[in-house]
Amino acid sequence: MKTSPPPINLLRRTFQATVAIIWKDLAAEMRSREMLSAMLVFSLLVILIFNFALELDIKARQTVTSGILWATFAFAGTLGLNRSMAIEKDRGCMDGLLLAPVDRSAIYFGKAIGNLVFMLVVEAIVLPVYSVLYNINLFHPGLLAVILLGSLGYVVVGTLLSAMAVQTRTRDVLLPILLFPVVLPVLISAVKASQGFLLAAEWTEIAPWFNLLLVYDVIFTAAAFMIFDYVVEE
């Protein structure tokens, strides 16, 4: 009956839809700021708990900084991922997205980029706080690159799995269980690479972890992108 639109047009429309989804998430968040503030406060709490649980002394701190940082990001991240998907699911909005005549990849990228932005904002606040609290200088370009890459890998898998988790009966609890073990390789390489930069290790020592992180990012992005279609349909 109708001919399908030419591919170039399709690409532009996918891009527009992606932007629309990001805009919507940001607009809603700008209004309430609930997710960001929640993630933020939670991050600080996790740091506090670590501090109490471990009674970190100065020496220990040097070596575990990157571990604590990433554990914090991971926990705070699930909070954001869960909420971002719950918004879609609660009043059937996910159906609304699925009904729209846009490629599913637009939905995936829209949500993933939105999540990444939230995560980076939280990290941008937690990092200076952490470096003040523990009197450690964290502003090393290498470290920042690792954080970017690590967050990317985390969000890429997290968005996919949160889309699955919200569709189950146990949505409140399933996401961390699904996500953490799968994303652990990303986290570990991020921890190791960060540690390398923090302890000012040689690049040759850091490189394997850094590269591993890159490889994981690529693998996970490709896999998630290809699989997402199957996850959102009912």
């Binding site: 399908s4 629309a20 919507k24 809603a28 309430s32 159906d95 699925l98 009904l99 009912e234």
Partner: protein, 232 residues
Amino acid sequence: MIVVRSLVKRFGLKAVLRGLDFSVEPGEFVALLGPNGAGKTTFLRILASLTRPSLGEVKIAGYQLPQQAAEVRRLLGVVSHLPLLYNDLTAEENLRFYARMYSLPDETQRIGEVLELVGLAERRRDLVRTFSRGMQQRLAIGRAVLHDPEVMLFDEPHTGLDQDACEMLDTVLREVAARQRTVVMTSHDLARVGDLASRFDVLSRGQIVASIQRSQIDPDQILAFYRRAVEK
């Protein structure tokens, strides 16, 4: 416009739709009647490509579902049991978002029109979370007709609407029908559908057990027709 052949949908052990056959010509307005739990919502969700059929063939505008769902979606406007609205956006922002998803041209004008139509122009800048049930339903209808779809799938759209809103919806539906759009609407309010639809289908025991044109039936007889079909 819509052709469904021996459609089966199971949830676990239970078959909800059992070899359902159904077809709608362009421009028809079908009222889908049936008792609670008959499977009306399930059926509409399958037509909307939101649920996959277990077995059977579904074609809309010549496209096969679920394989060619992408092509079909542009043509559909859906009102479901849930409002499909974002609580943290205003009425206007919700429509703007959907307008962008459908890449409408001059979205601002169209949004204004639709808000006017559903009687929410005054509340356009209020967050959806503060809306009453009926106001949300109005906006949900606005969302569904925003891109002027060719096929409308409305699941109990009159739910929660007050008198004015019901009349608004009826006007919308009449106007849409006049423009030869295809409509499939479920409802439990037989008096109301009697005035609107051009055909009445009864879904029961997983199949369309009866179907009749409006020209062939007296409006008062619809209830009797429905009862006979269900109890058969």
